[in-house]
Symmetry: C2
Subunit: 440 residues, 2 copies
Amino acid sequence: MAQRVREAYLRIDEVDRPEVWITLRPRAEVLAEAGRLDERMAAGERPPLAGVLVAVKDNIDVAGLPTTAGCPSFAYVPTQTATAVARLVEAGALVLGKTNLDQFATGLVGTRSPYGAVRNALDPAKISGGSSSGSAVAVALGIVDIGIGTDTAGSGRIPAAFNGIVGVKATLGLVPNTGVVPACRSYDCVTVFARTLGQAQSALATMTGPDGVDPRCRTWPADVRFAAEPVIAIPRDEDLAPLSRQARRAFGAAVSLLEESGARTEVVDVSGLLDAAKLLYDGTFVAERHAAVGEFIDSGPADLDPSVAKIIGAASALAARDHVVDLERLDHYRVSAGRTLDGCSALLLPTAPSHPTLAEVAVDPLGVNRGLGTYTNFVNLLDLAAIAVPAGTADGGPFGVSVITRAFDDQVAFDLAAVFTGEQAAELYPVGGVDLIVFG
Amino acid sequence: MAQRVREAYLRIDEVDRPEVWITLRPRAEVLAEAGRLDERMAAGERPPLAGVLVAVKDNIDVAGLPTTAGCPSFAYVPTQTATAVARLVEAGALVLGKTNLDQFATGLVGTRSPYGAVRNALDPAKISGGSSSGSAVAVALGIVDIGIGTDTAGSGRIPAAFNGIVGVKATLGLVPNTGVVPACRSYDCVTVFARTLGQAQSALATMTGPDGVDPRCRTWPADVRFAAEPVIAIPRDEDLAPLSRQARRAFGAAVSLLEESGARTEVVDVSGLLDAAKLLYDGTFVAERHAAVGEFIDSGPADLDPSVAKIIGAASALAARDHVVDLERLDHYRVSAGRTLDGCSALLLPTAPSHPTLAEVAVDPLGVNRGLGTYTNFVNLLDLAAIAVPAGTADGGPFGVSVITRAFDDQVAFDLAAVFTGEQAAELYPVGGVDLIVFG
């Protein structure tokens, strides 16, 4: 394994993107760990992820490394590694370090960090996307195999689209959030970036399953589906209004590819889904961010990102009864989403409406950020699963689509996403807890 | 069927408890419906609940009858019958009318109603318990077979204990809440009173299953259990401190009965469960009541019960971020509850700590009410299921115990509750959605 580790550190030097990392582990330390892994294997062990190199977003605990959440004055050094990462390590993965992010995972841009804006892997004038910016770029630049991120409103998908890689946001509660700094704890999800779907799926399967600590863990339901029916919902032309002509053409090509693979597509009205996203910005759910880190924000540390401070600070004034009303609205949006997908296995959407430059974000940080989440914001709120995959190019960069499914239809999403990557799924994602089911 | 209906109306006259009903349907109307049911049966239909007589709590819609929720000025006449009741009627049940309740289902006493305090079926000086007071007393007095109630903190169980009948609060989300005036919508549950477990189970099975409207409906999980393991958790002596000596003796006899049936009992510390209940009174969850009917309450109608007005009115000042914090606390209490029940199939508790008189409630309406929920309040909050059954007598009245299980272990609760009623469960409760499962 030592050779892999040495190559990764050479690559880190070569790409010269220091803003990717908040904490990079010393090479010797990782080499020593690789040595111990070699010993495990020499002793006959066959860890399924042996030698897989991993970058971890810096709002996820790795024992002994500081967790900053993108805010130096917030930093603490955990003694326990987050469940998701501990499972990867147990399976033989090697963690190289902790990656940059939009502070407190609040943003989709990748620029809201005192550790520097993370530049795009392919075009440094463009944004990387966020909030899981560093992990995505580390994967896209070929430094690591797996980037671990989090996703509340698109943070595990937008950076995948902007850097031309795969980003998987599984069903909420499948991967434990134990050891993750909460953003909106009801909607937070640990995610995986990889260059192939297969790698992402292996990592995800390893991380999945209740840990007895995270109270929001869920198990597979009795009616979990393993295969897609050949009908895929696609948006109306007007739902794609924010896209450039090239991006619209790329989306059309993605639809054609699905159809050539044997799927039937059906145009649906997704405006109800897109509307639900407004609750995230205009409603009371930002109270979750305040409950997580509001006391710290209210104490006025000097290294707060101004956008983040503004967003979270304002949430202390929101009323509980309005939060209840929003939760009820959300429940109804969820039912409507089910109806929108009626008869369909999945919904195909662009992952992002456009790909801004760093300069554009600097001019209008809140406005640009808000627009970016058009096609991702509603997914966690409505308890859907999504996989972002590359699908051609547009406007001189990668174009990405997302396969969005109902909760627990993650395998369906993997199968459909594979149409775009050209991969064959090796094994089913749902492992454990559902092997007792026989479909009648 | 006409004979059954005539007898019920004779019984109504005979018992002389006008406070039980808010709206009693005219006898002729119900007789006409019975006639139509006879025709269905003559045509070969075999409705499973043919001729079963039902009383419906007046916070649940029955088309054409006013829904008052115990507050005349709140009344409206729905055009749709609540899903749960519509399913009973479709199965051949006949609704006699709408029953009295603690206003807006806020109370466990059965006295908070401008339609009069509902007197206990067995001892009119004592309270009936609430909030589903009228439905319970209508069953206990032998007027109807099935009383439909609701339960957020014990409203479907306390009146069962006080009137010597069965009360079933199934897992949240199994019975749709469509057409029910919310109390705390996240924790509200439609319940069944009956004189036998078998009748309760038949009614409940009929009402169960998603209706495509209530967004909080849930389906059975892959690991639903159908049988109890022979270990039952029981409380420590100090957890039973509020009970009278006779009540403690009755509880001891109930434990012995379980043990004689072949179960092993294991003493557990239930203080964590009982603590969780405090969130219901001292936390922000009352914001749910304000979200449901707070605007109406704030408008200051003259026919508000003073206790109800006080409780709900105060909830407008609560903060969203504190609600988020309470929700997180609750999630952790839920995990702790799982640990408390570790290795056990169910928990046996008294249903109520004591049985107050109407006079005692009049002296201290809030204090007495709060005490009553000691052993019931935590159940819905922690996503547990419970069945209240009679278990001997104490202090000159019926004594009741509750079999409390994890969510979806409803069949386990039915099996154990049957030890107390001496019944044999006729068929499994979980119907539909789980018949694809094979246990390996």
